[in-house]
Every structure is written in C-alpha cells, then in structure tokens.
Amino acid sequence: MNAGAPPPDRIYLDYASFAPVDPRVLAVMRPFLEAGIGNPSSPHSLGAEARASLDAARVKVARLCAGTASGVIFTSGATEANNLAIKGAALAAREPGTARIVVSSVEHISVVNVCRDLERSGAVLVFLPVDGEGRVDLDALRAALAGDTALVSIGAASAEIGTLQPLAEVGRLTRAAGVPLHVDAVGAIGRVPLAVESLGIDLLTLSSNDVYGPPGAGALWVRPDVKLRPQILGGGQEGGYRSGTENLPALVGLGVAAEIMRTEGLHGEAARLAALRDRLRDGLLAAIADCRLTGARAARLPHHLSLALRGVKADGILLDLDLAGFAASSGSACASLTETPSATLRAIGCSPEEMEGSLCFTLGRWSTAADVEAVLERLPSIVTRLRSLAAAVRR
C-alpha cells in the first residue's frame, strides 16, 4: 500500500489537515473523469450509469454511519454539510428569526461561524462549557435544553485536542427533549464506533478527504423526519436539499473511501494507530520537560496527539520540523493566521504560554513505527535548542 503514501523523504504527521487519497480510490475515480459517465440527471444510458454509481456511493456512505441511504445528501465537503445542517435546521424551525441553537465551546470554525451568522439575524446562541479535557458539560446541556431549542450541534471529536464527546449521553438528552442533534463527525467517523441510530444522531457531517477520499466532497446524513431548509438552490439535485450537478468522480471516490474505511475499521486499524500514537505520546512526554498532553488521554481519537509545551513557540518548532522533513501542525490553521490562541485551547483553560506552544500530530493509513521513532529522535533536540535560544534572547 505504498503508492499514494506521502513522499518517502518526508514524515507525514498531519493527516487531519490533509490525507493522501488512497490509490484504490483514485483507480475507481479515473473512468468517471475520462469516459463521459458524468451527469446522473442525463436521459441517456451514460446518465443511467452515472445515477447507478451515485446511488451505490450513497449506500456505501450510509453504511459507514449506519444510517439509511436515502438520508445521505452529498455536498462539497464538511464545511458545506455543517452550513446546511445548522442553517437548514435553524431556518426550518418554528420561529426561525429567534431560533435557539446550542453548541459546545470547542466546535470547528465552520460550525461556530454559521452560528454567529444566525446570531446576527436574531438567533440565540448557547455555548456549552467544557471541562479541562474539552468534554462538554452534560448538566449545562440538560439546562440548555429546557428552552425551546431548534438544534444542538456537538462535534464527535475536537480536531485540535482529539477529545471524544460523550455522544451516547448527549443523544439520550436531546432525544428525550425532542431536539434534533447535529454531529460534525470529521476525524471520528470510521475511527471510532459512530452509528447514527444507536446514538440518536439526527444530522451527521462527514468529509471525503478525512477518510482518504478526494478533497472537495463530503456528505450530510439526515434523519428522514428532520426538517431542513436547503441552502443551495437550483435544479433540485440531492432530493432538493443541495442543487447543482453532483461531483460524480469525487462522490464515487468518497463511496469507495467510505467502504475501505469501514472494512479497515473492522480489522483493527484504530488499534494500530492508537498504539503508534501512545508510543509517540509516552516518548515525547518522557523526553521533553514542561510538556503536557492536551485533551483526553483515553477517550480521544486514536490517530491524534496534541501537546502543550511551555517556554517555546509552536511556529518555531514546526519550522524546524519542516526543515528536518517532518510535517506537523499546531492544530488550528485559524490561530496561525491571526496569531491568536484558538478558542478550543482557551475553552479548556490553557495558559497563554501553552497556547503558543501547542502542537498537533495526526497519524494515518501510511504511518509506521519508524515514523514515530524518527520524531522521537528529532523533536526533543529541536525543543531544547529553541528553548535555549529563547532563554538567551531573554538575557
């Protein structure tokens, strides 16, 4: 499975920001780009073939989240799916102008900004506090559900700190209150058990690239009785919920990627990644002083490690790592654009110093034990060097 893996001269630890597309997925996509099997709405036999392929992809994506195939709405990615879920549900509520939306304080920016936009036009936003590991406060959720709430949106896992939310408990509360529950499942789907029926999830966002499919595709799974206002209008594709000719090559790719992810999940991939991640975590915590894990230790994404280091800036570490052939991240693209600590790190109570020294490593299908050993060999000396430079500047 080496084809499709990142170039061998680079050790790739940033799967959460982009995953290499699986070569098996690419192989299936190719004919859909080359042979005229493009528009599922076309009235000729190639159109019929396109329709059949699209429906097959829908079944595979539904299987990954254990929901009905008719509930899958294909989108251009997770951001669009989050927009459709939240705006669609809020604007379909009884009092759309003043809809009440409940979200956690560690959501992705594509959830937060959609909520902020609704807030500008009168919606009431309730941000649920989280504990020091980023887990949402269930008592606060229970209290928030007392009002007339249009939607609860809680991500399955934080992309920045990896913590899994207690979705079973969340789902029990929202179901008892009769409030639709939206779950942004990016990062978690295919890596941890996530079945929409048993968890009481009404809307679920997933991303194609997150499961080694092509970028620019995603899906929102919607329970059949949930009311949504479409956000992209036109020819009525995707059951009228998302107009525009479907991006068939990418969606066929997403279908195959979902199927591979599901079967791989049955064969212990999560445990393999968690073992690599644990080795990386234990090794780095032992070798680097003033360094701690952020997010939960056990209830976290299996491929995810996030750390907060004191006395050194993440930017410098990432630059040195890059020069040494390692690709990692600080966990938040937004934070590096603005020099501002991320809302997630603020919500879990990191100190300003820790927020500047936040690192995030995400492993994936082509990660190996040798990759982990290479980081363990290199990163501690990079941190030591940068810390002594910083100390010299202070003197």
């Binding site: 920016i109 937060v112 900004n113 902020r116 936009d117 807030e119 500008r120 936003l125 937004c334 654009l337 603005t338 020099e339 501002t340 600590p341 809302a343 603020r346 300003p352 500047e356």
Partner: protein, 77 residues
C-alpha cells in the same frame, strides 16, 4: 477622544478575517498610531482582546453601536 489614523471596516466578515485584516493594517502603520476596526462578528470582542494581549498592541477602546463593534487599537511597536 481618540482620532484614528486608519480605519478598516470588517462588517460582514467572520473570524478569522477581522483579526487577519487588523494584523495587516497594523503592520503598515507606525508605532503610536491608532487603528479603528469595525466588526459585527460577535466573536471579534474576545478575539481582539486575546490578540492584543498576545501581540502587545494596546486596545484603547471598545464600543458597540447596534450590532457593530468599534475597536481602537494603538500600535505599540
């Protein structure tokens, strides 16, 4: 009270754009000058406070008219 040396209007934009544009504007100013930034993203208030704290620029005033925040930032260095 404070006369801004430069103004930017970030209404309609969302995080991180008000901070990105503030950062760009501040870069082109000289120390001591004051930037006025307008934003109607409710997240701008905590964001700009946090940004000022991290970067060391001085947030000299925050006011709000209707849904629009007005931030005055003095470039310190």
């Amino acid at each position: 009270m404070f006369n801004p040396d430069k103004q930017i209007d970030c209404t309609g934009l969302f995080c991180p754009m008000p901070i990105v544009k503030t950062r760009e504007a501040i870069k082109q100013m000289v120390a001591g000058q004051i930037l006025e930034m307008l934003s109607d993203d409710p997240a701008s208030d905590p964001d700009i406070k946090s940004w000022a704290q991290i970067t060391g620029h001085e947030l000299v005033d925050v006011s709000k008219q209707g849904a629009v925040y007005r931030f005055l930032v003095r470039k310190t260095r």
